[in-house]
Amino acid sequence: MLETRKLDKSFGAVHVTRGVSFKLERGERRVILGPNGAGKTTLFNLLVGELTPDSGSVHLAGEDVTTLPVARRARQGLSRSYQKNTLFDGLTVEENLGLAAAIHTGNATRLYTDSLARPEVREIVAEVAEQVNLMPYLHARVSEISYGVRRQLEVGVALATRPLVLLMDEPTSGVGPEMAKGFHDLLNNLPRDLTLLIIEHDMDLAFDVADTITVLNYGEVVFDGLPEAARGSKLLKDIYLGSWEDA
Amino acid sequence: MSLDLGFWTLQALNALQLSMLLFLLSIGLTVIFGLMHFVNLAHGALYALGAYFAASAAAVGGYWAGFFLAPVAVAGVGVLLYSGLIQRMRKSGPMAQVLVTFGLIFALLDITRIVWGDLALGLEVPSFLAGRVALLGVEYPAYRLFIIALGLAIFAALAFVLSRTQIGAMIRAGVDNDAMAACLGINVERLFFIVFCVGCALAGLAGAVAAPLLSVTPDMGLQILIPTLIVIVIGGLGSLKGAIAGSLIFGFVQTFGAVLAPQLASVLIYALLAAVLVIRPVGLFPAKG
């Protein structure tokens, strides 16, 4: 579904990703682990097209999308949520989801109808609100909901484009352990055919959702395999748990 | 159309003279922007004020009195503006700043009319610059050569200050990242104040030297504003290199455009600006990459 081949990117003399290759099957849930500065967010930016790799390629559903602009990739089924909330503050939860759903259904540039009044948009909004537990907040403004609910909405907006692959950049960043657990239940309840790629800082939580794990260190893939293998891996402990203490 | 070498030399000198005048105006505006992210549309009005101050002072004490007094007086106006308005607008968005300075244009326009009247004032060129000088096979007015020399001298001085002195290093640090500069112990507010005043003084100087060439009218500030903005946007905001490059491009395109394609001359420079913005949305030599 999503594949990278030897992705390289450097800023000046700093290599942020080196020869990153991995492959996600349809419905696979992969968690990317790695200490701060390991190149995880850069990798996301390369995948969605906010950065262009120096070399290597990105394939989505079998098609090479390396040179496609951000919006085109998104329309082909690649969606992402951000580590910092990127919500539309003055709008309600419903309108936030509606903006994304309108783009997916081709209503975002219509002049004659209000996109939010379209049945296909309403349907997606209701479904996504159900999926990410936003039903009680639909008519609340972003400024009126708590931080944790905003994190749910952040993922919800990304989901409302009905992606094939959803990239989530630390979806639980900044929320307490209790809530993070609930968040992972939420992820586990997403449709099984949705492919997920998740950056996660908290290793134990990562094992809740991951089918497979990729560990990045200094921009390189140092582990790629099943969670059980990762848990016992000496290598992973050395490079990851070392920095874990001070994170 | 005459095609002899002398003609082209003359045009090139004219272009250079226009460029230097624009440089004096744009360097202040661009560094103020680069450092403070403040768009001062009233910069043109300060130039007009400079011309008026120079004309008034020259009427009493001769040309040089105006030449030296105008920058000081305009810097004084800059101090008032800074403490009264601009300091308070520092945290506002670009839109609010554009509008406040737009209001300032209106206000200063009428204030000059109230103080100096609607009639155009003139200013005599000092006697030893009044003649023509033989240069590169042409006779060229000495006063215009003086402007070219002055512009180049100021450019050299600024280049030296910016690249070799401590205050220059502080300014460059501030342009690059003012929060970081503040962390390094640079008094950013004082730096802003100094740069703003120097920018105003240069605008006043530009007004004073332009006064004998043009007639001094209340709307001269409005007329020069657009070319100045074009210069700094083509050149890229915040950099000395951008200001000089933009000034030269504007001066030469304008002057040679008028000679070679009079029909298109005025459209040409705007088309060039549009092209620059499309190809390089942040100008040719922006201070930040």
Partner: protein
């Protein structure tokens, strides 16, 4: 996204009643002022659409108005189209030009967007000023007004023309509200909030910007065609950047992103110009001071101030009747 609040409705009703009253009772001079206000109001609605709801602070809307005016003048006097067709043509040409400008400038932001639009506006100004077809500095005269005798309106009569302009303004306001509430309008506000996120969701951002800019151009062109008919004369001064600057001042004075505020701003601005202009020739000084005071006060213009001061109270009272309440949704800083 634009929302009508009770306060906005109230302001609209008040403004419309005042305008109608003026149109029916005023003398010649009063009608001239009213028409001037109404035509300026058309232009500032177009500008508020892009600046207040899309963050595209344009300094070329004066030029777009000029294109509409010249388009109407040329098509009706030189090409010989009927006034109605000339109006349609002028509006279409202005819209097309605006779309292209919007598409080119879509990548620029902040001060660069302002400068880029300024460049295009000045380009148009210089071109019209120099090209012989447009009559140069002298402009074009002998422009006829629309012939509406078949519905019993003689537009050469000042009162009828003022009423007709009011009707056009009402239609423009309605169209602007519909556009801002459409899918396109919602996407535009999304782009203003967070362009990068909209792109990441799959929106072709430049198209949205260009489309709205083009629609705003259509309205500006219509305003221009009306302006040409009003004074029956066009000159390059219409395209000058100071016209754009004044339109921006009106939008800000009135209240950016409120659509109703700029209408109020247009009335205040024109009245101020005439009242202060009658007392002293230094009306720019007065307008400049007011502008500085308004911006420094950090209120979102006159109407924004009214909304902040009274809006909450009125809304609380009306909250039972109207569910979608609306504290200020638009930031002053575009």
């Amino acid at each position: 996204m634009f929302r009508h609040t009770p306060l906005r409705y109230a302001a609209l009703v008040l403004l419309a009643s005042a305008a109608l009253f003026q149109a029916l009772t005023a003398d010649y001079f009063g009608l001239e002022i009213l028409t001037e206000i109404v035509i300026l109001a058309m232009l500032v609605i177009a500008l508020d659409m892009v600046a207040g709801f899309g963050g595209m602070v344009s300094l070329c809307h004066g030029a777009l108005l000029g294109v509409g005016a010249y388009g109407y003048a040329i098509l009706s006097t030189k090409v010989g189209l009927t006034p109605l067709m000339a109006m349609g043509g002028a509006v279409a040409v202005t819209g097309a030009i605006a779309w292209v400008i919007g598409a080119i400038c879509a990548r620029s932001h902040g001060i660069y967007f302002i400068m880029a639009t300024l460049a295009f506006g000045q380009m148009g100004y210089s071109y019209v000023f120099e090209a012989p077809l447009f009559g140069g500095d002298d402009g074009l005269s002998g422009i006829a007004r629309l012939d509406l005798s078949f519905i019993g309106l003689d537009l050469n009569d000042g009162r009828s023309f003022a009423l007709f302009c009011l009707g056009v303004l009402a239609a423009i306001y309605g169209a602007a509200v519909l556009i801002l509430r459409s899918g396109l309008g919602r996407s535009l506000s999304g782009v203003m909030h967070n362009e990068q996120r909209m792109r990441a969701l799959g929106l072709t951002v430049w198209r949205v910007k260009a489309d709205v800019f083009g629609l705003s151009g259509l309205i500006s062109g219509l305003a221009g065609a009306m302006a040409a008919q009003h004074v029956m004369f066009v000159s390059p001064g219409l395209l000058s950047w100071t016209v754009s600057g004044e339109a921006l001042v009106v939008v800000i004075l009135g209240g950016l992103g409120t659509l109703v505020g700029p209408l109020l701003g247009a009335a205040v601005f024109v009245l101020l110009k005439h009242e202060v202009g009658a007392l002293t020739s230094y009306w720019h000084l007065v307008v400049g001071m007011i502008l500085i005071a308004v911006v420094m006060s950090r209120a979102n213009g006159i109407f924004g101030w009214i909304e902040a001061r009274f809006g909450a109270r009125i809304e609380r009272r009306a909250a039972d009747a109207v569910r979608d309440i609306d504290p200020r949704e638009v930031k002053t800083d575009a």
